[in-house]
């Protein structure tokens, strides 16, 4: 490293431009939200009335309590379900484990509300399984609506994240540590509790945080399967929709409280995880062994059962998409009618999705390459601040970002509401982190001396970047871009706030068709989304040469 002040160069300009982008599309909207919440919508005076209203009414506090109940239960249950799953898959040889891993990954990549609606089709009042059980056994299935349903759907949807995190951590645990414990007569559960769990605790916390944030921000699931079980995102959406055209102050106030709460949880997790993190690299990783007898059967049963449950929604939805429909109900026989209806009725949504996601992904790719470079190779106060900015979307729920953008850009000087631009801006901000992280990870492996070598040979800074650095990081960039892409096309909570008739996306179309009871079209569209997701994932595996995804 050369000491002294770095002189201005092209990178300073790039950093400045990226910063400006974040200020306009992230910092400013959040600031506007804050302003809105503290000033009366009609008089324009400073007031705490919105906050007073929120904290004084049991109706609102009830939604907060519901959200906390759902979020905490989903997080804990996901850890309890997926932690052992990852452990089993690490220590035991499971037949078809490669396929199982891919299926679990696919199940986690779909939009959660599709799971909600599929489980309604399966376990709802007139669900297939409900009817079957009551006809054959005469037993009434427990009610799926409300808390139970949300817990089921979100746990199945989000526990794969814990599974992937913990599997990754277990891969870094050196088997010598296990053997060292065994040689000192610390075996079985005691070994797990005293050695394994503490070692992977930071990972469990990180995965737990991700699940917590997703469950907390999820809007589609409680909306569909909650039936009056109101959570905070539902509350925000309802308040916002019912106030459109007039006063957004109350929705803004709730958003501010939510963001503060999420930030507090995030910081707490960081604090705990940092105090307990260990750098590990496994010289001899734990090798899966073939289990014997009952243990082998139990391990296989657990893994397969989980995979089947996780894949059930998508498989069943795909099945119903080929069923004949008459009006809104499914009838016997198979046809492609649902697909025909989907293309004719909501063809524009399919076009919109590809168009907007396409433009978004181009912007994301360019921005991620530059941001990754600035934050990894040009460390400093500015780079650190930029790093923090890119982390913010992890904390700000999608619906809140949507509202923030809308209240900021619905009046001059920048009118964007109702256009594709505002949706693309939201998508870029929210899904950029995946590509940045994947690009930065590759860039960390590239030694500084490689660039220095190019520069010492008389190559310019920019030429070095494009001829040397970019080609070396491109695999990571593309891999990240694919994950961003998948998460854009399955995005609902921001689009539902920002869309208008012309900018409807596929997920919005699925959601509205489900609400209208048009299950055939919804199923066809969902299946299309799943197919695109699977193809994208296969491309990801091919490009990255890996069979896992970092979130």
């Amino acid at each position: 490293m050369i000491g002294g002040k770095r002189r201005w160069d092209i990178w300073s300009l790039i950093t400045f431009l990226i910063f400006a982008g974040y200020l306009i599309f992230l910092a400013l909207p959040l600031f506007m939200l804050l302003i809105k919440s503290f000033f009366d919508g009609t008089t324009g005076d400073f007031s705490l009335a919105y906050f007073y209203k929120f904290f004084s009414k049991a109706y609102y506090m009830n939604a907060v309590w519901n959200s906390i109940k759902v979020t905490v239960s989903v997080t804990l249950l996901s850890i309890v379900v997926a932690g052992p799953l990852a452990y089993i898959m690490t220590i035991a040889k499971i037949k078809g484990s490669a396929t199982v891993r891919i299926l679990i990954l696919i199940s986690s990549m779909s939009a959660p509300f599709i799971g909600a609606y599929a489980w309604i089709l399966l376990l709802g009042r007139s669900g297939v399984i409900t009817k079957f059980v009551s006809n054959v056994f005469g037993v009434q299935m427990p009610d799926i609506y409300g808390f139970t349903g949300i817990l089921l759907v979100l746990t199945l949807q989000l526990s794969p994240l814990i599974f992937m995190y913990v599997s990754g951590a277990l891969k870094n645990v050196d088997n010598s540590l296990m053997e060292a414990a065994e040689s000192m007569n610390c075996t079985g559960l005691k070994k797990m509790w005293k050695i394994l769990v503490p070692l992977i605790m930071p990972t469990i916390l990180a995965g737990g945080l991700l699940v917590f944030m997703r469950a907390f921000a999820d809007f589609g699931t409680p909306m569909l399967i909650g039936e009056g079980f109101r959570t905070v995102p539902v509350l925000i959406f309802n308040e916002f929709i019912s106030e459109v055209g007039g006063d957004n102050g109350f929705a803004a106030a709730i958003s501010v409280i939510v963001v503060l709460f999420a930030t507090a949880v995030f910081l707490l997790q960081k604090f705990v995880a940092n105090r307990k993190s260990y750098s590990m690299s496994a010289l001899n990783p734990i090798e899966p062994k073939k289990l014997k007898g009952i243990a082998n059967v139990a391990a296989h049963a657990y893994v397969y059962l989980f995979t089947i449950l996780a894949m059930m929604p998508q498989v069943y939805v795909a099945y119903t998409s080929f069923q004949k429909t008459s009006g809104k109900i499914f009838v016997d026989g198979y046809s492609l009618d649902s697909y025909r209806a989907a293309f004719s009725k909501v063809g524009d949504a399919i076009f919109n999705t590809f168009m907007m996601a396409g433009i978004t992904i181009i912007i994301i790719t360019l921005a991620a390459v530059l941001i990754a470079y600035v934050t990894v190779k040009r460390k400093g106060a500015v780079a650190n601040l930029l790093d923090t900015f890119t982390m913010l979307p992890y904390i700000v729920p999608g619906s809140i970002l949507g509202i923030a953008l809308l209240v900021t850009f619905n009046k001059p000087p920048l009118v964007m509401s109702g256009t594709a631009v505002i949706l693309i801006a939201a998508f870029v901000i929210r899904r950029l982190p995946y590509t940045i992280r994947s690009s930065a990870a590759v860039l960390h492996q590239v030694n500084d001396s490689i660039e220095e070598a190019a520069i010492s040979l008389g190559t310019s800074t920019m030429r070095t970047f494009f001829k040397i650095t970019v080609p070396m990081m491109i695999s990571g960039v593309f891999a990240g871009a694919i994950i961003s892409w998948i998460s854009i096309i399955t995005e609902l909570s921001t689009s539902i706030i920002l869309y208008t008739g012309n900018t409807r996306t596929m997920t919005v179309a699925v959601y509205t068709e489900v609400v209208r009871g048009n299950y055939g079209v919804a199923a066809a569209l969902s299946t299309l989304l799943t197919v695109i997701t699977v193809i994208s994932l296969l491309l990801f595996f091919k490009l990255s040469g890996k069979k896992e995804v970092t979130m």
Binding site: E179, A180, S183, M184, N185, C186, L199, Y278, L283
Partner: protein
């Protein structure tokens, strides 16, 4: 306390491949015993059988005559030092060292006493509250050693413990390991591929290749009288030269290196009846070559030399085109120049003579 370990016809198989075919070996009580060999020779496999981490497919492994084949690792009362130390990263130094004692119903006070005593022995008491990530490689190594010994194990097992350290630290640590082992007096099985390290620490060494023990002996035995050419070339440096063995004028065995240079070697095993000359291979270590002063010896030409202070390594091309290495005391008077023609004499008392296959050492009094 310390035990004698014995392997009787031990077999190790992975699926259908046999990695160790019927191996027998006795390790004495309190001995520092090293398994030495190139990678893949089965030395780590053997060590992990003693630890109980590898299953045994045939034969018997005994500690003091007690069969251990199916005793789980935790019940064998072993202390093990792993190649990458396997220090628990979430525990500080004292907690790491105390870990084994906590699984053994030792009172808290007793635990503390033994831990602090052990930390003194390995000289890391000042770091007792540090987390592993704040320790250097050498310090981590000492923690690993302390953790293994503090439980008073019957056997201390070490799997290439020094391979992650830098060269200087490696020398310091091997001296430390040796002196601590001597102080505690515990039976130790040590695995390494570094022959110099093996010679420095061991009471006895077993040299292995492809799952078979080639030779067992003291470091001196193994260096001076290698049982076969593999051992001769693996331990230290040596020149292998083909020659003929014949009966000399007075019936004594005589090695014929060139037409005009022969050496009588009285200690050779008698020729088996036949008077026919027989092809042999000689292992001549670089220090067993000297510049001839009386004009007798193998003719050659100095190709290169490397001055290393204490001694000088000289590369000499022989008449038949082969290159050999000679080590010369730098202080000796025969200074060489590149291109100089020389005659090399051989120190006949110490060289080793093998049959043509290189499997059998013909020197009397050698062998397994």
């Amino acid at each position: 306390m310390s035990v004698a370990i014995s392997f009787k016809d031990i077999v190790k198989k992975y699926g259908d491949t046999t990695v160790i075919p019927e191996l027998s070996l006795d390790i004495k009580k309190g001995e520092f015993f090293t398994l030495l060999g190139p990678s893949g020779c089965g030395k780590t496999t053997l060590l992990r059988m003693v630890a109980g981490f590898n299953s045994i497919e045939g034969g018997a492994l005994t500690f003091n005559e007690k069969v251990m084949n199916n005793v789980p690792p935790g019940k064998r009362n072993i202390g093990m030092v792993f190649q990458n130390y396997a220090i628990f990263p979430h525990m500080n130094v004292s907690e790491n060292v105390a870990f084994g004692l906590q699984n053994r119903q030792v009172s808290k006070a007793e635990q503390q006493r033994r831990v602090s005593e052990m930390l003194d022995t390995v000289q890391i008491s000042v770091y007792k509250d540090r987390m592993p990530k704040n320790l250097s490689g050498g310090q981590q190594q000492r923690v690993a050693l302390a953790r293994a010994i503090v439980i008073n194990p019957d056997v201390l097992l070490m799997d290439e413990p020094l391979s992650n350290l830098d060269a200087k630290l490696r020398v310091d640590m091997r001296n430390a390991i040796k002196s601590i082992q001597r102080e505690v007096g515990i039976t130790t099985v040590y695995v390494t591929h570094d022959q110099e390290e093996a010679m420095a620490v061991s009471d006895r060494i077993a040299v292995m290749k492809s799952g078979v023990i080639q030779q067992i002996g003291t470091p001196r035995d193994i260096y001076q009288r290698p049982a076969n050419l593999f051992v001769a070339t693996f331990i230290g440096r040596t020149n292998v030269i083909e020659a003929e063995l014949a009966a000399g004028a007075n019936g004594e065995a005589e090695i014929c290196l060139t037409k005009d240079y022969s050496l009588p070697i009285p200690k050779l095993q008698p020729l088996m009846g036949s008077k026919q000359p027989m092809k042999v291979k000689l292992s001549i270590r670089p220090e067993e070559f000297v510049l001839s002063e009386d004009g007798k010896g193998i003719a050659g030409k100095v190709m290169n030399y490397v001055f290393l202070g204490l001694n000088t390594h000289v590369i000499i091309k022989l008449e038949n085109g082969e290159e050999v290495e000679m080590i010369q005391q730098s202080a000796s008077n025969g200074v060489v120049e590149i291109g100089q023609n020389v005659r090399l004499a051989v120190v006949r008392e110490t060289i080793n003579v093998y049959d043509a296959s290189g499997e059998r050492n013909l020197n009397r009094g050698s062998g397994l």
